[in-house]
Amino acid sequence: MAVATSTRGAARSAPRASFFYRPEVRQAIYQIVTVLALAVLFYILVTNTAANLRKQNIASGFDFIHRTSGFDVSQTLIAYDNSMTYGRAFLVGLLNTLLVAAIGIVLATVLGFVVGIARLSSNWLVAKLAAIYVEVIRNVPLLLQLFFWYFAVLKSLPGPRQSHPVPGGGFLNVRGLYLPAPVPEPGFDLVLLAGLAGIAGSILLYLASRRRQRLTGHRLPVLWGTLALAVAMPLAVFLLLGQPLAFDYPELKGFNFQGGMVLQPEFIALLVGLAIYTASFIAEIVRAGILGVSKGQKEAARALGLSNGQMLRLVVIPQAMRIIIPPLTSQFLNLTKNSSLGVAIAYPDLVSVWAGTVLNQTGQAVEVILITMGVYLSLSLLTSAFMNWFNRRMALVER
């Protein structure tokens, strides 16, 4: 390369020619041309689609979001009825997806860690059971598992008039798990405030304990402190204020139970199905991470006199997290996207409500699918961004 430049530098040709022969100029020009070509292609795609839709008299545009929906949804986290707009129905579907995804991720991670560690247990039975769980659940398609959880479990539950009573005033039947709903009375906000203060206090206590340990080697009583601050204090406030909490009990009126709150079988089946399926993958990732920690670390921990549990918690898992977190992110994204299978078991998630009912009633497939794809893309990007930040924080500084 150095040879080439020295021969080229001679002032034999006009300055203009040597400008275009410079590699960086060439690269810039190629990149600009490619970007322009992509922009032109995108523009042509959009205008071509719009022209074709117009020619076929298919409605287009996003005005349909403000039209009345006319249909009802079985599970809504916000107030919704059939006189509200399609836009509101979109929010309902989105919240349902987020709900099942968030709780599903938590459950799947906990179960996945447990099963992953169990598979490495020295107890032969535990290890084998975990292995069977992973192999069976991983290899059966998720849709079939969802059908199993929904229909097999549904068929075994009794009708509303023969419900199983649940201790605490609840009922279990084929329509769902009915539980008494807490109805806050005046004064309950003080209890909530006390609870929040207690949680903040325990976090501060934990941080203070860590700092103290770093400086002096002694820890503060974190467990007892947390119990006192986050549990006992709000409880005391609750009792002092005269128990400002009433319960709305579900009662059988006519066809169904009225009152109380209900966990629908669709929600439970989707949650359980997704959590168990994704946990089997997470278990394998956790196992890979733990096996990836060098044997020397475990031997050193043993030599220091740490028990198995302490070794796992303080030495192995923190180092394994570097290996675990990136594939864990993919599993979280998979779970979020797999929640769209809920339409097969009547769970009103985003795909069922928006890309199902609304798409069919308005006929505007292009706009609806674009919005759905945009939502899932945003959810995935947000999740990966958060996990990448978490990964960077967990990254150990190698000496």
């Binding site: 032109v40 020619k55 006519g254 078991i345 199902g356 069919n360």
Partner: protein
């Protein structure tokens, strides 16, 4: 290196330029003839209307209409590609060109006629929405369903009519929305919902497949108008005319007494109406792009409307639905076809 990049650049520009041109309007009849088979959108499985048996042979009222159209074009009712569609994908399948005609218990509504880019080619079954409940509930009328849980399919007029009916009658309900009929009926039988709702013909049809059909009753109330008919894409008037007149030929054939058994005899009839129907007089077939004996081929394949109805959903079938509104106009119903002249 320079020449290769110049060529690729030129090629890309040419590709972009041509892709911007709008698609020419292709005639569906030509596409079907070229393909050698009619691509027909049908139900995923509804007894009496569109259902495959265990050998993969399709039968049903809507399927017979597919056969009639294929017979009119090719003379062979086997030249069909059946594409089962759920309510969610049926319109996109038609809009995108995957199917040529959608004959799938689809209700003719204004929004479907306008904003979906489709045209309906007549009503092959006048229906209405009803409810089916278990006898053990002791419910005798739809007005007693306050607070009930209702299983319904997504993206159908059923979903909307249900909401309207309960609102008008000041009742509340809880919907459980499925994509496929099988899933909805399974959940209904398992007790997840008290009521299943769809077009009344559909209710009789699914009841046949229940474990104990006698344990379920169809409530007497019809809560909506559901004119079911075939639909095609807008913009191809020749294809729309063909599908329309296949339906009218079936009605006219029943009116004139032409059946599958006697169509050959009727070719020698002196009745001028029959002569025009069967192509012995006039060039009506050629006028819509088919042969003049187009109606003969149709009747030989599936019979007339009355035979088609009886065989699939009427007295000659397990559903045994009364013809009701689907009788001919001069026999007390509202099936009426313009004359072939």
């Amino acid at each position: 290196m320079k020449r290769a990049t110049k060529l690729t650049l030129a090629g890309t520009v040419a590709l972009l330029a041509t892709s911007g041109a709008a698609l020419a309007q292709t005639k569906t009849l030509d596409t079907v003839k070229q393909r050698g088979a009619l691509s027909c959108g049908v139900h995923t499985g509804l007894a009496g209307f569109g259902q495959p048996d265990d050998k993969g042979n399709w039968t049903g009222l809507d399927v017979d209409y597919c056969k009639a159209i294929a017979a009119a074009i090719f003379g062979d009712e086997k030249k069909i590609k059946y594409v089962p569609t759920t309510p969610k994908e049926r319109f996109t399948a038609l809009q995108s060109g995957e199917i040529d005609v959608l004959i799938r218990t689809t209700t003719w509504t204004m929004s479907r006629d306008s904003s979906l880019g489709l045209s309906f080619a007549g009503v092959n079954y006048y229906d209405g929405q009803g409810f089916i409940v278990k006898k053990s509930l002791g419910v005798k009328s739809a007005k007693e369903l306050n607070g009930a849980t209702v299983c319904v399919q997504t993206g159908t007029t059923t979903e909307l009519n249900l909401a309207d009916y309960f609102k008008v009658n000041n009742m509340t309900y809880k919907p459980v929305v499925f994509e496929k009929v099988d899933e909805a009926t399974q959940a209904y039988q398992a007790g997840r919902c008290d009521v299943y709702t769809t077009d009344q013909s559909g209710l009789y049809s699914v009841r046949l497949q229940f474990a104990n059909p006698a344990d379920h009753i169809v409530l007497p109330e019809i809560i909506s108008k559901e004119p079911l008919g075939p639909s095609v894409r807008q913009g191809d008037s020749q294809w729309l005319t063909i599908v329309k007149w296949v339906h009218y030929a079936l009605i006219n054939a029943e009116e004139l007494g032409v059946t599958k058994a006697n169509v050959d005899q009727m070719l020698n009839s002196t009745n001028p109406e029959i002569k025009r129907l069967l192509g012995k007089e006039g060039d009506f077939g050629k006028g819509i792009g088919l042969d003049n004996d187009w109606a003969v081929k149709i009747i030989k394949a599936v019979g007339n409307y009355g035979e088609l109805f009886d065989r699939n959903v009427g007295a000659g079938s397990r559903l045994n639905i009364d013809r009701g509104l689907n009788r001919l106009w001069n026999k007390g119903g509202i099936q009426y076809a313009p004359p072939i002249r």
